[in-house]
């Protein structure tokens, strides 16, 4: 046996040790059933958590609106705007949730490279959409606090809004990076490996 053949047979031998005892059809069938239930439950829990966060935030804002209404008409208006901004912001979170859900259900019986590319592109688009929705909604809501402020010039309001916009953009970017950064980095690395 020459060196090349020897290496090839070693290579083949190296992988054969991973052969465990085969599962029965019944065992696999049960695995699938249990996994389906677990997957549905996990999804239900994730969705419920999103709803709870949204409901809690909205209730907190509404409570603030009611509590501060006695302090005057101006603050009340600003908080109403903040409520609208909050709703848009949270709607963005729901959109992201469903988009990510669709991405996780991408067709897996396709070429690996194509699958990874599709997953990366779609996730990146979803995160970008969320980033802009949340930035605009949060900035819009916060900037309404200035609208009724007497004595603030339009240029100052524009400057504050711009600064808040930049701030909100980076806060949201930090959030998306913290939550999905590692996944995106791994996907990017995998894609680079296949290229």
């Amino acid at each position: 046996m020459n060196m090349h053949d020897d290496f090839e047979s070693l290579l083949k031998g190296a992988v054969t040790h991973g052969s465990e005892e085969a599962l029965s059809e019944q065992a696999v069938s049960t695995i699938i059933d249990e996994r389906l239930i677990k997957s549905r439950n996990r999804l239900r829990t994730a969705f419920r958590n999103e709803i709870v966060i949204i409901a809690a935030t909205l209730l907190a804002i509404i409570y603030l609106v009611i509590r501060t209404s006695r302090y005057g008409h101006l603050i009340n208006n600003a908080l109403r705007m903040a409520l609208i901004g909050g709703i848009v912001y949270l709607a963005g979170s729901i959109v992201l949730f469903f988009r990510l859900l669709r991405i996780s259900r991408l067709q897996k019986d396709v070429g690996v490279k194509g699958y990874l590319k599709e997953m990366y592109t779609r996730t990146e688009k979803a995160l970008l959409l969320y980033l802009w929705i949340s930035t605009i909604a949060a900035t819009g809501a916060l900037s309404t606090l200035f609208t009724d402020s007497p004595g603030t010039g339009w240029y100052m309001m524009a400057l504050y809004t711009l600064l808040m916009g930049v701030g909100m953009y980076y806060i949201n970017r930090w959030y998306t990076n913290k939550r999905f950064g590692r996944k995106m980095k791994d996907l990017k690395m995998l894609l680079a490996e296949f290229d």
């Binding site: 031998g13 991973g18 695995i31 389906l36 259900r105 019986d109 396709v110 490996e193 296949f194």
Partner: protein, 165 residues
């Protein structure tokens, strides 16, 4: 399309799943979780399976796509997986009798994810054309990459075995 038909078609090839799981998951819990996830994904993908393509090609695609994007979600143990769950990683290594095979196995496990997929398919004796279909790369690319990986492994093996312990 019933589950009986699905199981009848996939069960003879379940070795594919074990090989993918063993090469990508590091510990017992991850192996359990990944194995379950691959079976689930195969079942969910089954309605789209076209009889024109080979079942093994289709299973490799689903298994590799699942394993490559896998992040451990649950540490829940499954009683149906005692056969693999009962074996710690170190025990699996004991099954590799030949020292060089063991070293090679470790080398394969330490390869980047994409290279792992290619070498696994190559070792399984799958043609370059089919590997290209599974990975979505061109046939020539597959050939070039496999040669490069094999050269690298051969070199590392020689260096390792010549180095006095």
């Amino acid at each position: 399309m019933g589950k009986a038909e699905f199981l009848q078609l996939t069960m003879p090839h379940q070795g594919i799943i074990y090989k993918v799981v063993n090469i990508y998951a590091d510990n017992k819990e991850d192996k359990d979780d990944l194995l379950q996830e691959i079976w689930l994904q195969l079942w969910l993908s089954y309605p789209r399976f076209k009889a024109a393509s080979r079942i093994s090609t289709w299973m490799y695609q689903v298994a590799l796509n699942t394993a490559l994007t896998y992040t451990r979600k649950s540490a829940t143990r499954n009683r149906h997986l005692r056969t693999i769950a009962a074996e710690p990683v170190i025990e699996e290594d004991k099954q590799v009798r030949h020292e060089q095979e063991r070293i090679l196995w470790e080398m394969i496990r330490s390869l980047p994810k994409a290279e792992k997929a290619l070498i696994l398919l190559y070792i399984e004796g799958i043609s370059y054309r089919e590997i290209a279909e599974i990975t979505g790369e061109s046939e020539s690319n597959v050939g070039v990459k496999l040669n490069r990986i094999k050269q690298k492994m051969k070199h590392n093996l020689n260096t390792t075995t010549k180095t006095p312990q």
